[in-house]
């Protein structure tokens, strides 16, 4: 394990469990399971015990590790100099568990589905472009930007709706974009986070090769998870394309007057996805888009920006569901927090969050009070002149 040398240095003080102002526990698995063992400090101590052979790897140990949503709240608030490596420690431990055949069944199924089908939904590759049907958007053929959609945007109904809405808004703003459709391959962010390094390398190398062959120089992603892995991991494997999240692009578009929103009287709260916010420090662009819509009121949730509470879908949990449902599940906690603001719309910028929070809206019976809507859809509702 590359980071074995830091594992014993955790003091388990617990700052990692909180947001900056200590409002409430901000570590989703700790919130769900309640035990200290399911928090960052607990994991560090257990990993140390496992490295010292004081405990044996078990199903429970695996659950503790794989329930981590990689939301990076711990990295944000740990007080120690090794804070930036916490998620790497968890990832390396998960790799060891995967290699030792100890990944939970749901995780194994996830890897298998991606390996066999190229996506976790076990759906045919040809269906990957269905989201674009009837939009008039074109497949990639040398346009300036590749619009990379990812698995959730390609196969999940809510994700597909978001892919359409974002794709069309980018087009309206005058960006020359093309999508891959059936040629698209999973970006591998969650595969990596879940510790399957071999599969991740295959996916990443395949994507890099394909992008290079197709002459892709600039990528706009729908999904912050894809943004994260493209920006941080792919360059290590030789990728040389530039990448932006669509919120960065729309932020520029409204700033440059490529999009001029009309007034829209509505109260909106914005949920920061972990891979956009904490992981990639993109806090401003989505807010700047909302603020450019006349009459629209933005109200912040109690926990936002660096303190945002994860929807529970990160770290592969969207597919593996190790956190499970119930009142304390992160998406339900989060939707209650959003409803507390009195907002009519909850703006989302990640297909995983969109799905998780839409499900939570139903579970909490809040459909009458609030809607979960992606940022591009809000612009569309406002009406834009381009």
């Amino acid at each position: 394990m590359e980071h074995a040398g830091i594992v014993h240095r955790c003091f388990r003080c617990g700052y990692c469990k909180f947001p900056g102002d200590y409002h409430d526990f901000n570590c989703p698995p700790h919130r769900v399971f309640g035990w200290d063992t399911y928090s960052c400090g607990g994991r560090m101590w257990l990993i140390n015990a496992w490295l010292n052979q004081e405990i044996q790897p078990s199903q429970r140990f695996a659950e503790i590790l794989f329930s981590c949503v990689a939301c990076a709240n711990c990295q944000e608030y740990c007080v120690y100099p090794f804070k930036d490596d916490l998620l790497a420690v968890f990832e390396e431990t998960k790799t060891a568990l995967v290699n030792g055949g100890l990944a939970p069944p749901a995780v194994r199924d996830y890897f298998k589905a991606i390996h066999v089908n190229g996506n976790p939904y076990k759906l045919p590759q040809e269906q990957r472009g269905r989201w674009a049907e009837g939009t008039g958007l074109e497949e990639f053929s040398g346009q300036e930007y590749l619009f990379y959609v990812g698995c959730v945007g390609s196969y999940d109904e809510i994700g597909m709706r978001m892919a359409r809405s974002v794709g069309l808004m980018l087009k309206e703003a005058g960006y020359s974009i093309g999508y891959l459709g059936s040629r698209e391959t999973c970006d591998g962010n969650e595969v990596k986070v879940l510790g399957e390094t071999g599969l991740f390398s295959l996916l990443a190398e395949e994507n890099i090769r394909k992008f290079r062959e197709m002459g892709v120089k600039k990528v706009i992603t729908l999904d912050p998870h894809a943004l994260n892995v493209f920006r941080k991991e792919y360059p290590k494997l030789g990728a040389d394309f530039q990448v932006w999240h669509f919120t960065e692009v729309l932020g520029q578009a409204v700033k440059q007057g490529r999009i001029v929103p009309s007034p829209y009287r509505v109260r909106v709260t914005y949920h920061d996805p972990c891979y956009l916010g904490r992981h990639n420090r993109i806090f401003k662009p989505p807010r700047s888009v909302l603020k450019r819509i006349p009459d629209l009121e933005v109200v912040e949730m109690r926990r936002s920006k660096e303190d945002s509470f994860c929807c529970g879908g990160g770290g592969g949990n969207f597919f593996t569901d190790i956190l499970g449902g119930g009142e304390d599940s992160p998406n339900r906690v989060r939707i209650r927090e959003a409803a507390d603001t009195g907002a009519e719309l909850l703006a989302v910028t990640c297909p995983t969050c969109a799905k998780m929070l839409t499900d939570a809206l139903k579970a909490e019976d809040l459909q009458g009070r609030m809607e979960v809507v992606d940022l591009a859809e809000i612009l569309r509702r406002a009406g834009v002149g381009c």
């Binding site: 014993h8 240095r9 003091f11 003080c13 200590y22 309640g34 200290d36 078990s58 429970r60 503790i64």
Partner: protein, 459 residues
């Protein structure tokens, strides 16, 4: 399935009980230097009634039971020395009531310091509580159960002095209210003018009952807060400096600290003085009064105010997160401290001893004194950091801390949050009648000896 496990599940539900190897291993230890001992079960109750039923079960079956907050006392007080049940109280974390005009708050027994701080900032921005510098996840009930100290201790005494009422599950399972709340709806007094029964629980390290609700005083939160550091290289002047500053009755908190690293701090005593005020004028006036009180030391060049600007963000933080970072000085994840309570006059002897011990045991030290109640006493923290991967260093720290406590008790100090060995040292020195009284109380409250056994165990 094991009968006890089933009974616990019947009380709190499956998700709130664990006897999995992972929780058993984790809850067997704290981050200090005391050796671990495994519990049989870890249970996380949500209500007083659940706590009551767990205690009744434990009492019936004679199972040891150890209440735990965040396990940060560091002296092994939550290590289940005789196995049994560790009660993780953190799920009982509701803030139940704030009486704004009466300036008190009632919280559940697992509420963290951080949560209360944030809640008050949101809802009662002109009120605050005496927050310790312990990590924010540490709990209010545990802090008063060990007579902790916080930001307002210089002004108002130990945090346990600020208790305004308790709800306790006795070791025999009765739920008992202490103070004004035993007679009516208000939680404004823990004792006076009744017989003060809170003393049966405060300072007992969880050996006489489980606090399920605690009322504590709140205090005005001024609009501004500032800090100055007065530096002197003369240990012998510290008590006098503190005496002059406390005479002004103008300061919030006073801590005195010295440490060898970084080099700029070496060989100096840093007297950190916190000020609060509602206006610039008020702050300025207080600052002037303090400068005036210390002018003599400045004129004689025995001390002076250091430039504090770069340190301000860290010093004004509550809790001060940087203190936990001491644990990583030897790249190691641990520190331990002895924190005897003693007279401020004894500062020079303590300061000397810390350095002596650090050199004798070859360990990294930090010394900190927190002034209590306008100088009536101080908590002198003798801290040594260690590397958790180095058993020899851990052992050296253990011996250094033990020697520090022996030294303090020999000088007439009393131990704070003592580990079991320090408790023994204290009891050896205690008046036999006092000891008998403690034994009587303990035996009557806990006839089966189930509450945090091994601690405050009078032979």
């Amino acid at each position: 399935m094991d009968r006890i496990l089933q009974s616990l599940i019947d009380i709190v539900g499956e998700k709130a009980v664990s006897n999995h190897a992972e929780e058993i291993w984790y809850y067997a230890r704290d981050p200090g230097v005391m050796p671990p001992h495994e519990p049989d079960y870890v249970v996380a109750p949500r209500t007083t009634e659940e706590v009551q039923r767990i205690v009744q079960l434990a009492n019936r079956e004679r199972i040891p039971i150890v209440p735990m907050g965040n396990g940060m006392a560091l002296t092994g007080l939550v290590i289940p020395l005789k196995g049994g049940i560790v009660l993780d109280m953190k799920r009982m974390d509701r803030i139940l009531e704030v009486n704004e005009r009466g300036r008190y708050v009632i919280v559940e027994g697992g509420t963290s310091q951080g949560k209360l701080k944030s809640y008050l900032e949101d809802h009662y921005p002109h009120l605050r509580h005496s927050i310790p510098d312990a990590p924010a996840a540490t709990t209010i009930a545990a802090n008063v159960a060990i007579h902790g100290q916080g930001r307002l201790t210089q002004q108002y005494g130990f945090n346990s002095d600020m208790v305004t009422g308790l709800e306790v599950v006795l070791p025999t399972g009765e739920v008992c209210r202490i103070g004004s709340c035993s007679m009516g709806p208000y939680w404004f007094s823990k004792g006076p003018t009744l017989p003060d029964l809170s003393g049966l629980f405060l300072g007992w390290l969880g050996t006489t009952g489980i606090i399920t609700k605690v009322g504590i005083r709140l205090y005005p939160r001024k609009k501004m807060r500032d800090v100055e550091i007065f530096v002197t290289d003369r240990d012998d002047l510290v008590a006098d400096i503190v005496y002059r500053v406390t005479h002004t009755e103008m300061v919030e908190d006073i801590t005195v600290w010295f440490q060898p690293k970084p080099l700029m701090f070496k060989d100096n005593n840093h007297i950190t003085i916190y000020l609060t005020g509602d206006t610039d004028e008020e702050l300025e006036f207080k600052r002037l009064m303090i400068w005036d009180a210390l002018r003599e030391f400045i004129d004689s060049k025995d001390g002076g105010f250091m430039s504090v600007q770069p340190l301000k963000p860290m010093l004004l933080e509550m809790p001060q997160r940087g203190i936990a970072a001491f644990a990583d000085v030897p790249k190691g994840g641990g520190f331990e401290y002895s924190g005897p309570i003693t007279l401020v006059d004894q500062y020079p002897m303590y300061a000397e001893k810390v350095k002596q011990l650090a050199s004798k045991y070859n360990v990294v030290y930090a010394g900190t004194a927190r002034i209590i109640s306008g100088g009536h006493a101080m908590m002198f923290g003798i801290s040594f950091a260690f590397n958790r991967a180095d058993p020899d260093m851990i052992d050296r720290v253990r011996r250094a801390v033990h020697e520090a406590t022996e030294f303090a008790l020999d000088l007439g100090g009393i131990p704070w949050k003592p580990n079991i060995h320090e408790q023994k040292l204290a009891m050896e020195r205690m008046d036999p009648n006092t000891l008998r009284l403690m034994k009587m109380i303990k035996q009557n409250l806990d006839p089966q000896g189930i509450m945090n056994p091994g601690n405050w165990e009078v032979g």
